[in-house]
Each structure stands twice: as structure tokens, then as C-alpha cells.
């Protein structure tokens, strides 16, 4: 592809299509070639032919989309990173994917991910880890690591992923791109292979904040097929803000001090100074139950997962192990089909829900969840947005943390509280930390405040001036 095309953001490419300077099929083919040449293991499947003619007047103008393999796509492999679903071709398409296709973003490919979205490094994929385009010896983050790496490396103009405890924001941070976890219910979960249903939410992974808003605008909406979906009360606007005058930013010491690497901390401090230069004010706000958020999360998410993953039993789809009786068939299918992390979480969740332990674990975790939501509510009485690092470290080495699952869980402490409270948060690139690797800055707001978050992120992004082009090679 010409260097010219790859340097365009999705919004810019769409404008060229609409202006008649570029055809949608030419654009699709150029990106298809990039995607097909993937050497990061970011893709699980790439379209082998252009889609039927896209209407150049459609809002997304034919700019192709990379889709996390967790979304069901009719007739196209959808394995959610699991061997138990290898070769599975769903008979229907997820609502979010259908909406984006109808708005003019055809499917470019399906991206690799941690198995059933359980992981922060993509090393839990049943199909091999994804490499980080900034340093191929490092992880891209997870679980939407394939989508993040594809956008960062210029293998896709934009992508969608899902976030349960940080699975959009953390890989966006580690790959130097933008990722938005919307308010719970903003986007339909219909057709998403379920991990933890009270937390899962789909959102965009994009090169900049404008692309993020544009893609998000066409994902949202109530869906009769997902009774927990609400849509957003207001239309998603394309952000234009260049200043932050009058906006109050809360800095929670619990998510910004202990455990944050010095290089990440320095980028974070720099972004706080930029917020002030742009007219925003900073105020310390406390989120006192943050320490318990990881504990609550690692009870609630595995508990819900253990129930959701009961459906993988070798009966209706996916892998079936041959065995003489039904009980053995279930057990052997699940033994062979699930990877280590998925087994660990099913065990943890089953234990937490089992007779005699339910109140001590699941019941208590749900009460902690109330406390965490209350913490945010009282913080947002004083400030408009909360700002933190997205991840306490830059991208770590492949294999570096696989021996210690608890350490891997604990590294999610900046991103886990928001889904527990159902509130939206964005990660934008803030600069470079350790080893000259990207650092993400997270902005969180009250439920349904996506427009405020996008406006503020747009202004901050302009002041930061992050250059992601080196990762596109």
C-alpha cells in the first residue's frame, strides 16, 4: 500500500472515499493486502475477497474493520481464541458487527485474543500469542491484543474489541492506540461469546480519538436481542475540543501511586501538567475500595464465566472428544478444549459459587461492587473526570509473567474498578515510558458521559502529540 494511504486515519480515508478521490473497493483491497501480510499473529482470519459494493455515501464510507474473534460472524470462523471452538462458523452475526457493516464498515478480518477474553497479555490464546509491533519480543496486552496490535501496526484502519476488566484499554495502552470501554449497556452484547455477562462491553480500538468517536457512534443503541442494552441518551458527537477550561479532573492516589513504574509515572505526571496547561483543574479524589476491586473482580468474573462456559460441552457445536458415556464425553471435551487459564477461572468461579462458599465469596464480592460504585459516585460529585495511568507498566516480555497468575491479575488494578461500576473509560497514548514503549492515560467518567470523555481525550491528545507511525513500519 502506498505510504500515503496507511498514514490516513479511518476518518480521513472515509472523507476521501466520500469526496470521490478513492474508491471503497480500492481502499478495502489495500487494507486486505496489509492484513494478509500480518506477521504478528494478530489475525485469525482475513477476508479473501472484497465485500459486496459499499455505498460510498454511508457514514463509515467503506473503511474496513478488524473484529475481535469473540464476536460471532455468520459463516466466518469465530473461536474466541479457544481450541474448543476451532472451526466454528456461527449461524448469525453479532448486533454490533451488523450495525457497523450497515453503517459502511465491512469486515476485514477476525483478530486473535486471549481465550474467551481471559488474560492481559494474549498469551492465553489457543492459537499462539500476538506480538507487540513496537517490540516483537513483548506482549500486546490483552485480551483484545490482536485488535490493538493490528491497528498499531497498520494492519487495520480500526478495530473493535471487548472489555470486561480492561481488555480494550490495557492493550490499547500497551500498543500506543486509543481504546474506549463504554458504559455498560451502551452497545448490544448479542452475538458476543459471553465471558462475564454483567461486565462485558464492546468498544472501539482506533488510531485516534476522532476515529474512536466515529466508530462508537455507529455501535451504540438499544437492541431487542439484548435486554440489558440501553443505548446512550444522546447522540455520540465527533469531538472538537482543544481546551479543557472548566473541567475538573480527579486524581485518585489509590490508582496512581503504588505499583506504577517510574517511566509510566513520569508520562502520567506530564499529562497532568498538560491538563492544567489546557485549562483543566486537578483535585485529589479518593476511591477507598480500590484495593478490594481486584478481589471482587476475580470472584465475580470467574463465577459468571463458570456459568457461561458450561455451554461448551461437545453437544451442539465445537470440539467433541470421543468417549463411551455422556459424562466422560463432557469432561474429556472440556479437558482437551480449554486452556490452562480458562480451566483456572472455571475452577475459581465454580468454587466461589459452590454450596457453603457462595456467601463468603460471590455474595461479598457483589457487596464490594456496590462500595466501588459508591466510591465513583461520590468522586463524581466533585470532579467531571478521573485520570489515571491505564496500566502500571509498559508492555512486558512474552513469557515474563506466565508462571504467576496472581501477579498477572494484580496488574489490572487501574482498569478493573470501572467495569465493576459500569462506567465508561478511555485510554489514549500519553507518551513513551520504559524501553521507549507506549504508555496509556486513562480518563473515566460517570455512566453515559462518553461525549465528555471523548471531548476531553481529544483536547489532551492534541496537546500530547503522540506519534504512532514507527509501529506501522
Amino acid at each position: 500500500m502506498s505510504g500515503d494511504l496507511i498514514d490516513l486515519t479511518a476518518a480521513q480515508a472515509g472523507e476521501r472515499v466520500r469526496a470521490g478521490e478513492l474508491s471503497a473497493s480500492e481502499l478495502f483491497e489495500a487494507w486486505r493486502e496489509r492484513a494478509a501480510a500480518d506477521s504478528l499473529n494478530a489475525y485469525r482470519w482475513v477476508a479473501d475477497a472484497p465485500p459486496p459494493e459499499t455505498d460510498a455515501g454511508a457514514p463509515l464510507a467503506g473503511v474496513p474493520l478488524a473484529i475481535k474473534d469473540l464476536f460471532c460472524t455468520e459463516g466466518v470462523p469465530s473461536a474466541a481464541g479457544s481450541r474448543i471452538l476451532e472451526g466454528y462458523r456461527p449461524p448469525y452475526t453479532a448486533t454490533a458487527v451488523e450495525r457497523l457493516a450497515a453503517a459502511g464498515a465491512p469486515m476485514l478480518g477476525k483478530t486473535n485474543m486471549d481465550e474467551f477474553a481471559m488474560g492481559s497479555s494474549n498469551e492465553n490464546s489457543g492459537f499462539g500469542p500476538v506480538k507487540n509491533p513496537w517490540d516483537e519480543s513483548r506482549v500486546p496486552g490483552g485480551s483484545s491484543g490482536g485488535s490493538a496490535a493490528a491497528v498499531a501496526a497498520g494492519l487495520a484502519p480500526w478495530a473493535i474489541g471487548t472489555d470486561t476488566g480492561g481488555s480494550i484499554r490495557q492493550p490499547a495502552a500497551l500498543c500506543g492506540i486509543v481504546g474506549l470501554k463504554p458504559t455498560y449497556g451502551a452497545v448490544s452484547r448479542y452475538g458476543m461469546i459471553a465471558f462475564a455477562s454483567s461486565l462485558d462491553q464492546a468498544g472501539p480500538l482506533t488510531r485516534d480519538v476522532t476515529d474512536c468517536a466515529l466508530l462508537f457512534r455507529h455501535m451504540v443503541g438499544r437492541d431487542p436481542l439484548d435486554s440489558t442494552s440501553t443505548g446512550l441518551p444522546d447522540e455520540v458527537l465527533l469531538p472538537a475540543a482543544e481546551r479543557l477550561d472548566g473541567l475538573r479532573f480527579g486524581v485518585p492516589p489509590e490508582l496512581t501511586r503504588g505499583g506504577v513504574d517510574p517511566g509510566v509515572g513520569a508520562v502520567f505526571e506530564q499529562s497532568l501538567r498538560l491538563i492544567e496547561e489546557l485549562g483543566g483543574t486537578l483535585e485529589e479524589v479518593s476511591l477507598p475500595h480500590s484495593d478490594q476491586a481486584i478481589s471482587a473482580y476475580y470472584v465475580i468474573a470467574p463465577a459468571e464465566a463458570s456459568a457461561n462456559l458450561a455451554r461448551f460441552d461437545g453437544v451442539r457445536y465445537g470440539l467433541r472428544a470421543e468417549a463411551g458415556d455422556l459424562g466422560s464425553m463432557y469432561e474429556q471435551t472440556r479437558e482437551q478444549g480449554f486452556g490452562d487459564e480458562v480451566k483456572r477461572r472455571i475452577m475459581l468461579g465454580t468454587y466461589a459459587l459452590s454450596s457453603g462458599y457462595y456467601d463468603a465469596y460471590y455474595g461479598r464480592a457483589q457487596r464490594v461492587r456496590t462500595k466501588i460504585a459508591e466510591d465513583f459516585r461520590s468522586a463524581f460529585e466533585r470532579v467531571d473526570l478521573i485520570v489515571t495511568p491505564t496500566s502500571p507498566t509498559v508492555a512486558f516480555g512474552l513469557g515474563e509473567r506466565t508462571d504467576d497468575p496472581l501477579a498477572m491479575y494484580l496488574s489490572d488494578f487501574c482498569t478493573v474498578p470501572m467495569p465493576l461500576a459500569g462506567i465508561p473509560a478511555i485510554s489514549i497514548p500519553g507518551g513513551f515510558g520504559e524501553h521507549d514503549l507506549p504508555v496509556g492515560i486513562q480518563l473515566a467518567g460517570p455512566a453515559f458521559s462518553e461525549n465528555r470523555i471523548l471531548e476531553a481525550a481529544h483536547a489532551l491528545e492534541g496537546a500530547i502529540g503522540f506519534d504512532g507511525s514507527p509501529a506501522r513500519g
Binding site: Y88, R89, P90, P91, Y92, Y184, S198, T228, T230, H289, D291, Q292, S295, Y298, V299, A310, D313, G314, V315, R316, Y317, G318, L319, R320, A323, D325, L326, G327, S328, M329, Y330, E331, Q332, R334, E335, F338, K343, R344, I346, M347, L348, T350, Y351, S354, Y361, G363, R364, Q366, R367, V368, R369, T370, K371, A373, P405, L406, Y409, L410, G422, A447
Partner: protein
């Protein structure tokens, strides 16, 4: 803390067969994770209601009208074994 017998019990509940090596490893890993999770037992939560759903919603209702479902042959397309009428599985009692 979780011991070996509990791991085997939970694995049975979850319909997971674990190898001897997995039982060993899982016992250690789950114990350290559960020890960490114990931090929530220190909080006073007696007056706190549990949250099962974060967005306040009343019942979501729809008209009870028939609509097309997935055609049977489409539903069977991905089945490991079918006789065209149902999903075929090994006998439970073998």
C-alpha cells in the same frame, strides 16, 4: 486455602477432568489467589446491598409475538453428531 480434595470436588462440579499434574498445580495456584481474595472478608458489608446489575433498569418487556427462529438444519450445521432431528450424544448410562 483450598486442598486437593476440594480441587477434585470442584472439578467434578465443573465437569472438568484434570490431570494429576493439573490437580497439583491448581491446588497451589487457587490457594494463593483465594488468599488474596480474602482481603474482602475484612470489610464491614452488613449494611451494603449486593450489586448484580450496574445500570438501574425496570423489567424489560416485549410483546409475546411469534417470530422466526433459527431453522433446524442451520442449528445442526455445526453439530458434532446429529440424526437430523436432534443432537446425538453417547448414552449417559454406558
Amino acid at each position: 486455602m483450598i486442598d486437593r480434595d476440594q480441587v477434585l470436588h470442584v472439578a467434578r462440579l465443573a465437569r472438568l477432568r484434570l490431570t494429576e499434574e493439573e490437580v497439583e498445580r491448581m491446588t497451589g495456584e487457587l490457594s494463593s489467589i483465594l488468599d488474596h481474595i480474602e482481603t474482602i472478608s475484612a470489610l464491614d458489608l452488613d449494611d451494603t446491598a449486593p450489586t448484580s446489575h450496574v445500570v438501574e433498569m425496570e423489567n424489560v418487556l416485549r410483546p409475546d409475538e411469534p417470530r422466526p427462529s433459527l431453522p433446524r438444519e442451520r442449528a445442526f450445521e455445526q453439530a458434532p453428531d446429529t440424526d437430523g432431528v436432534g443432537f446425538r450424544v453417547p448414552s449417559p448410562g454406558a
